[in-house]
């Protein structure tokens, strides 16, 4: 593509410093375009763990994420701190996310089957049925309501229980424990710990049961790996299950909320969506993943990142030398809005078809739960707006700004 795409429409100079403090979402996008036009990456000092290169250009991000010379081993082994905005809990550093090939490939393959596009396709019908049931309950209780616990969190937890293999009778317990791992819960430390412990105990017993009597679910698959050299200990399976629970539905719930808000704040796009819900849902969901967080707030700050990597040798990316030992990460907001990949990145467009966003990462570490998350978002939004096309906001949504994922904790709506 020609470099003219980089030009902004105004002649005012754009501030290309990075990171940058809160500005309007449109101004943030203007800056992302200018920054990416100026350079492929910026070196910045993180609150924890020192310096890191932050990639701004979509193509450069793909190049880095597709290059096996970037690894996570030094973080996993504790040889170096992860340069990031917050401390990563040790438990997360022991998971798939921080593994490199070949062990990563092996573990990933085991989980993949259970969460594959094929398995997820089979789960869609039950997701639709459950979404309807949640809305029936909501309608019965009457409006207004907080959509977060009633719908956005309840749906992914149910799907996760289904995937993992939690029997229907145990689902209320499972939902209570899992929800406790969420920031939304805002629980005292002690209570949270108790819930996590109960969840771990419950899962351990379930793993044991599935080892003896396998069914068609994730725990059974993991407990009964087909090859001996692939078999996992109960502890390893538990870690994977806990990762899926904590990483899985929190993000999905948050993106469902971002989707509801994006559509409510862009009535023209909601109209396009409602015209052909099933046809538009797939591209709408991609657009929410790309741009949804920009629709959530009045202000956006520049500075964010996916989990970093370390260069095992000197590597040149897009003309910039990344030295051996340097840490590097992708700022998804930056690469999702830069001018070459998105000439009109400030627009929320539910029909956008060429949408190479990197919210769910790319390459080896692209989100394992992506098919499930996409399906849940499609179902959640389609069912919600088809059933309640008159949905309206009943006040300002509340975010928990103290949490890393800044989840929406209150989304008051009526219908």
């Amino acid at each position: 593509m020609s470099s003219t795409n980089f030009q902004t429409t105004t002649t005012e100079p754009v501030d290309t410093s990075y990171p940058f403090g809160p500005v309007t979402p449109n101004e943030a996008v203007r800056r992302y375009v200018a920054i990416a036009a100026d350079r492929p990456m910026t070196k910045m000092t993180m609150p924890i763990g020192g310096d890191v290169w932050v990639i701004h250009r979509n193509a450069a991000a793909r190049q880095m994420l597709g290059d096996p010379r970037f690894v996570r081993e030094p973080f996993r082994t504790g040889k170096r701190a992860v340069p990031y905005f917050v401390e990563f809990p040790d438990f997360l550093k022991g998971t798939l996310q921080f593994e490199d090939p070949p062990h990563h490939t092996q573990l990933r393959k085991l989980v993949q089957k259970s969460i594959s596009p094929k398995r997820v396709r089979a789960m869609r019908e039950s997701a639709v049925a459950y979404a309807h049931q949640l809305i029936d309950d909501m309608v019965a209780k009457g409006s207004p309501t907080n959509l977060v616990p009633e719908y956005a969190v309840a749906l992914p937890i149910q799907m996760l229980a289904n995937l993992i293999g939690v029997p229907p009778a145990d689902r209320p317990k499972f939902q209570k424990w899992s929800a406790a791992t969420l920031a939304v819960a805002n629980m005292p430390e002690e209570e949270l710990l108790q819930n996590m412990t109960e969840l771990a105990g419950y899962l351990t017993a379930l793993i044991d049961e599935r080892r003896k009597q396998p069914r068609e679910d994730l725990l059974s698959d993991l407990a009964n790996a087909p090859h001996k050299d692939e078999s996992l200990s109960d502890g390893e399976i538990l870690t994977i299950a806990m990762l899926l629970i904590t990483a899985g539905f929190d993000n999905t719930a948050n993106f469902i909320c971002a989707g509801v808000l994006s559509l409510l704040k862009n009535p023209d796009q909601l109209a396009v969506f409602l015209e052909d819900v099933d046809g538009v849902a797939p591209t709408a969901v991609e657009e929410i993943l790309r741009h949804g967080r920009m629709c959530m707030y009045d202000k956006a700050s520049g500075g964010g990142g996916l989990v970093p990597f370390v260069a095992t040798e000197d590597v040149e990316i897009d003309g910039q030398l990344v030295a051996r030992g340097d840490a590097i990460l992708v700022d998804p907001a930056s690469v999702n809005h830069e001018g070459r990949a998105y000439p009109d990145g400030d627009r929320f467009d539910v029909r956008r078809s060429d949408n190479p966003h990197m919210t769910l990462s790319y390459g080896l570490h692209h989100c394992l739960g992506a098919p499930l998350a996409r399906m849940e978002m499609q179902v959640a939004l389609s069912v919600l707006f088809t059933r309640l096309p008159g949905l309206t906001l009943e006040g300002d949504p509340v975010m928990d700004m103290n949490n890393l994922t800044t989840p929406i904790v209150d989304l008051p709506v009526s219908w």
Partner: protein
């Protein structure tokens, strides 16, 4: 220059000029061919680049390796004898490739 013929489930066809060494997946993604997603960028871990390879073209490629074979069991649309992951189909000079995109990819 090798050409790739992408046939959509509705029968419509799109022809794209490829480059030797590129995969059928990356050629599709770069040219915005509908239905080939390629979320993992060809690292055999997403199964969103599934295609049906024309029977006549099978002679130009080795069969699926073990990893590809396993991933082919994970595709959203049903696996058939001609099923391949397009990130594993590498273009060669002088060889045109014909593939059909499945109904559902994610």
């Amino acid at each position: 220059m090798p050409k790739v013929f992408y046939v959509q489930p509705d029968g419509s066809e799109r022809v794209v000029d490829g480059a030797a060494g590129d995969s059928v997946m990356s050629t599709a993604v770069r040219n915005g061919v509908r239905g080939i997603v390629g979320q993992c960028g060809g690292s055999l871990s997403c199964a969103t680049c599934h295609v049906y390879l024309a029977a006549d073209d099978r002679q130009y490629f080795d069969g699926p390796g073990e990893d590809e074979d396993e991933m082919l069991d994970c595709t959203a649309s049903d696996r058939e004898d001609t099923s391949r992951l397009s990130c594993q189909l590498v273009l060669r000079e002088g060889v045109d490739v014909h593939v059909t995109v499945p109904d559902e990819q994610t």
